[in-house]
Amino acid sequence: MTKIYIPLDMAAVAMGADRLAAAVAKEAAARGQQVEIVRNGSRGMLWLEPLIEVETPAGRVGYGPAKVKDVASLFDAGFLTGGAHALSIGVVEEHPWMKRQNRVTFVRCGVIDPLSVADYEAHDGFKGLKRAFEIGSAAIIEEVAKSGLRGRGGAGFPTGIKWKTVADCAPGQKYVVVNADEGDSGTFADRMIMEGDPLSLIEGMAICGYAIGASKGYVYLRSEYPVVAKVFQAAIEKARDAGWLGQNIKGSGFDFDVELRIGAGAYVCGEETSLLESLEGKRGIVRAKPPLPAHVGLFGKPTVVNNVLSMATVPMILEKGAKHYADLGVGRSRGTMPLQIAGNVKFGGLFETDFGIPLGTIVNDIAGGTRTGRPVKAVQVGGPLGAYVPVSLFDLPFDYEAFAAKDSLIGHGGLVVFDDTIDMLWMARFGMEFCSIESCGKCTPCRIGSTRGVETIDKIRNGQDVEKNIELLKDLCHTMKFGSLCALGGFAPYPVESALRHFPEDFRKSALEAAE
């Protein structure tokens, strides 16, 4: 029996993985070959998806990107024993893109069968939770705090402090909420973990629940990820069947369960307080803080709201200890950052590395430059509310503080690369338009500011009082930045201001054209 891995990851499915798996099964049956097809997560080398891996004595040999039409020739080439084929990339672990990484959060992603509890346990799964049961609440929180783990949603708030705040609240109903509303363009790390290693998220939630005294956890997942919903729901059931969720988990006396909830296409629900409103069944309108969700959260109860990646990293921290994690990274950016390389790139995918790698190395070296072969013009880092960074800043090291010093943010670690055909005035307009479509409407700077922003940019596009309107636009951005209730209105100026600052010529094209 030969083991074959074909990802169930949404990106692999989008490139034909489901059809490929069916074709491989059919071809194997026709040839009388005994194969077991495991639907794994993605290794993150997304330009190779769908990537077939075959288990051989030498290791797992990869073939990709494989299409249905390649199946017969793969069998002819003896791929079941690692035979040579034009699509072969050799042993996957030895691939240069793979070898350069430091996989911590994603160590199991693409390796294991995401829906096998036994496979998860064979790869150190649930060791963190077992240790958590041994050391107790205070020691767990200390471990998380010492590791230096920070939120991965953009703000980078220390996870340990959040947990301690909730743990210190009076006993009673508390909640663990995972923000899986990964709405930013160019980000897909949450999606990949939830498809490729969902049990790590479930384990992290159970550890958190045990530490803070909560018996219930919710995962709020965006509706744009239908494949994730299926996989993650199945993972919850597997964990429950194996006794890792439910009553008296593994005889610890601790009860904990996880429920998956699906959002309904509102970007602002990625903001933690609107997410809580939405979970409660209301309009996803931002709450003013304070009170913090840690004190008054879901249904008015103390609540930890964590990003998927922070939560999925917790089991490893408990298993290996805080120091192991804290030793990775630079400055106050501890640990690793799963970079999501996207847009106009040759080698798009997920690349997990220690903080501190220069931006230019990521774009030109790891991502291989643009897919169109044209020169890079800008990289938007940290999602639709992130700044556009020009090539002149490519020596910027990838860490929270270095980016902040340049009025940029690394946010979720997503990078979208643009070639020189992009019009930055248009992208600035799009940023404002996106904010106006997605604004929850509660605060005026965001609701009105974004609409006025689109109008003002349109005037600039039409060559109308260009300099005056650029000043007005800057003023609007300032108001939105400092007057908005949440990050949607508060960060929407980042793409606009960065476009203005680094690509001023794109804002004056109409004036130049008029002058000619």
């Binding site: 990106a11 363009s185 160019g186 897909f188 744009e224 990820y225 249904f299 847009g343």
Partner: protein, 158 residues
């Protein structure tokens, strides 16, 4: 959606009742109603308000806040085309506009024969395979004009 059931208040009440044990059941109910009927009829909103003991205005406010819920039936199939930054970096904006022009449609509109509704979507998490789309829940990476036209033909053929 294909094969949506005919609306009845009785069936809506059954669906609502099945979710009342949940904490904060509104979104799960709305998803279930839309899965059953293909849309969320005003009568169902009224039933929800009664069951959840909130005003109809408040319930209406919830339904209309979310892009996913719609108050009138959509086409039998739905095509969501991504317009977020990553897809734009690979020319998605022009491709989508050309496609809409070919089909004589605008965003959120349904083909005259009721076969296909076209919606914008802001990121499907397929950003390494931009431009991307979602057809009846099936993800499609590196979409080109030919693929979009095939989807229309397939939707019309069913």
């Amino acid at each position: 959606m294909a094969g949506a059931a005919q609306y009845s208040d009785e069936r809506a009440r059954e669906i609502i009742a099945a979710h009342m044990g949940l904490e904060g059941p509104a979104l799960p109910i709305l998803h279930a109603l839309q899965a059953e009927f293909g849309y969320v009829p005003d009568s169902a909103v009224k039933e929800m308000a009664t069951a959840l003991n909130i005003s109809r205005a408040e319930m209406h406010g919830v339904v209309t806040f979310y892009h996913d819920f719609h108050s009138a039936p959509h086409g039998r199939h739905t095509l969501k085309i991504c317009r977020a930054e990553s897809c734009q970096s690979m020319g998605a904006e022009k491709q989508a506009n050309d496609f809409l022009a070919r089909q004589k449609l605008e965003w959120h509109q349904t083909t005259p024969d009721g076969s296909l509704t076209v919606e914008p979507v802001y990121c499907l998490g397929l950003c390494a395979h931009s431009p991307a789309a979602l057809y009846d829940g099936e993800p499609i990476g590196q979409v080109d004009a030919a693929t979009l036209d095939e989807i229309v033909a397939e939707a019309k053929g069913e």
